[in-house]
């Protein structure tokens, strides 16, 4: 993702929008949990959690306007690391 031109932050208006989106997504995830969708509930809820985290990372933590590559790499690397050790452990536990 490119650092958006000359901006260093999203601005108050955008922060308020992100806050509203986060609150809405929270309501959505609670509603989803109440719907008894069985197996897909966890996928939807974790998906919404991932989306909320992405909003916090990009706009509140300013990753969208970050210039330093090493910082922009930190989250993707952490995600890959977690995927490897959670996925790898699952491949063991799942097949026992």
């Amino acid at each position: 993702m490119n650092a958006a031109e000359n901006k260093t932050e999203a601005g108050i208006g955008m922060y308020a929008l992100v806050w509203a989106a986060l609150m809405l997504l929270t309501a959505l995830t609670v509603a989803t949990a109440g719907m008894n969708l069985r197996k897909i509930t966890i996928i939807v809820c974790l998906g919404i959690a991932a989306l909320k985290s992405l909003l916090v990372l990009l706009y509140f933590m300013h990753l969208r306007y970050e210039n330093r590559t090493v910082i922009k790499l930190i989250i993707p690397i952490a995600i890959v690391t977690l995927a490897i050790f959670i996925g790898g452990t699952f491949s063991d536990v799942f097949t026992r």
Partner: protein
């Protein structure tokens, strides 16, 4: 990309590196949760039914809003309005306190029903539920410690903003404290569905 490194960005790099270690710390606990949940789906569901979705949602709202107030604090510091920044830092600490009060209420309720690590009542429950509540106290407890630490750091930064030690020209301490606070928010964003909303 040019070869010039942004002046003063070193402190921010350091903070992000620390954040990556925190992600691995909680990641390990999420790993444990995943495996135990996979092996004990019924017991985990039973355990989650004993948590208050209302309090969990309320705490989520508190932390999301506190992330909003802390980013506003950073915004106003950057725009050379330290008095406004100070107010938003106080608001953030206020929400942190509200979160901890709710957490204390929830935990007290559990303790009163004999549900705490090593308790006889808890240990006489199905093994999966013992694991669930063990993870619940460990993960929300570790998270709450981070809330306390974050609020403590923000309090010190508040004092320094008032004294002028943190300002538009030297914002890094507030910016880093805010980054830590957002991390605390993100961790809870995942804890909430895993403990309160799973079926």
């Amino acid at each position: 990309m040019s070869g010039e490194i942004e002046k003063g960005s070193g402190g921010r790099v350091g903070m992000w590196l620390f954040i990556s270690t925190e992600i691995l710390l909680f990641g390990g606990l999420f790993l444990l949760y995943s495996m135990y949940r996979f092996k004990n789906p019924v017991d985990f569901h039973a355990g989650s039914r004993e948590l208050s979705r209302f309090f969990g949602t309320l705490n989520t709202a508190f932390l999301i809003t506190s992330s909003f107030t802390v980013v506003l604090a950073v915004h106003w510091l950057r725009h050379n309005r330290p008095e406004k920044a100070g107010l938003f830092i106080l608001a953030t600490i206020g929400f942190a306190f509200a979160f901890l009060v709710v957490k204390a209420i929830e935990w007290s309720a559990k303790f009163e029903h004999g549900l705490y690590p090593s308790a006889h009542v808890l240990l006489s429950r199905p093994r999966g539920e013992v694991l669930y509540f063990g993870l619940y106290f460990m993960m929300t407890g570790l998270h709450a410690l981070h809330v306390i630490a974050g609020a403590g750091v923000l309090s010190v930064v508040y004092a320094w903003v008032k004294r002028g030690r943190v300002s538009k020209d030297k914002p890094i301490l507030l910016e880093n404290a805010a980054l830590f606070w957002h991390l605390v928010d993100i961790i809870w964003i995942f804890l909430f569905p895993l403990f309160y909303l799973i079926t």
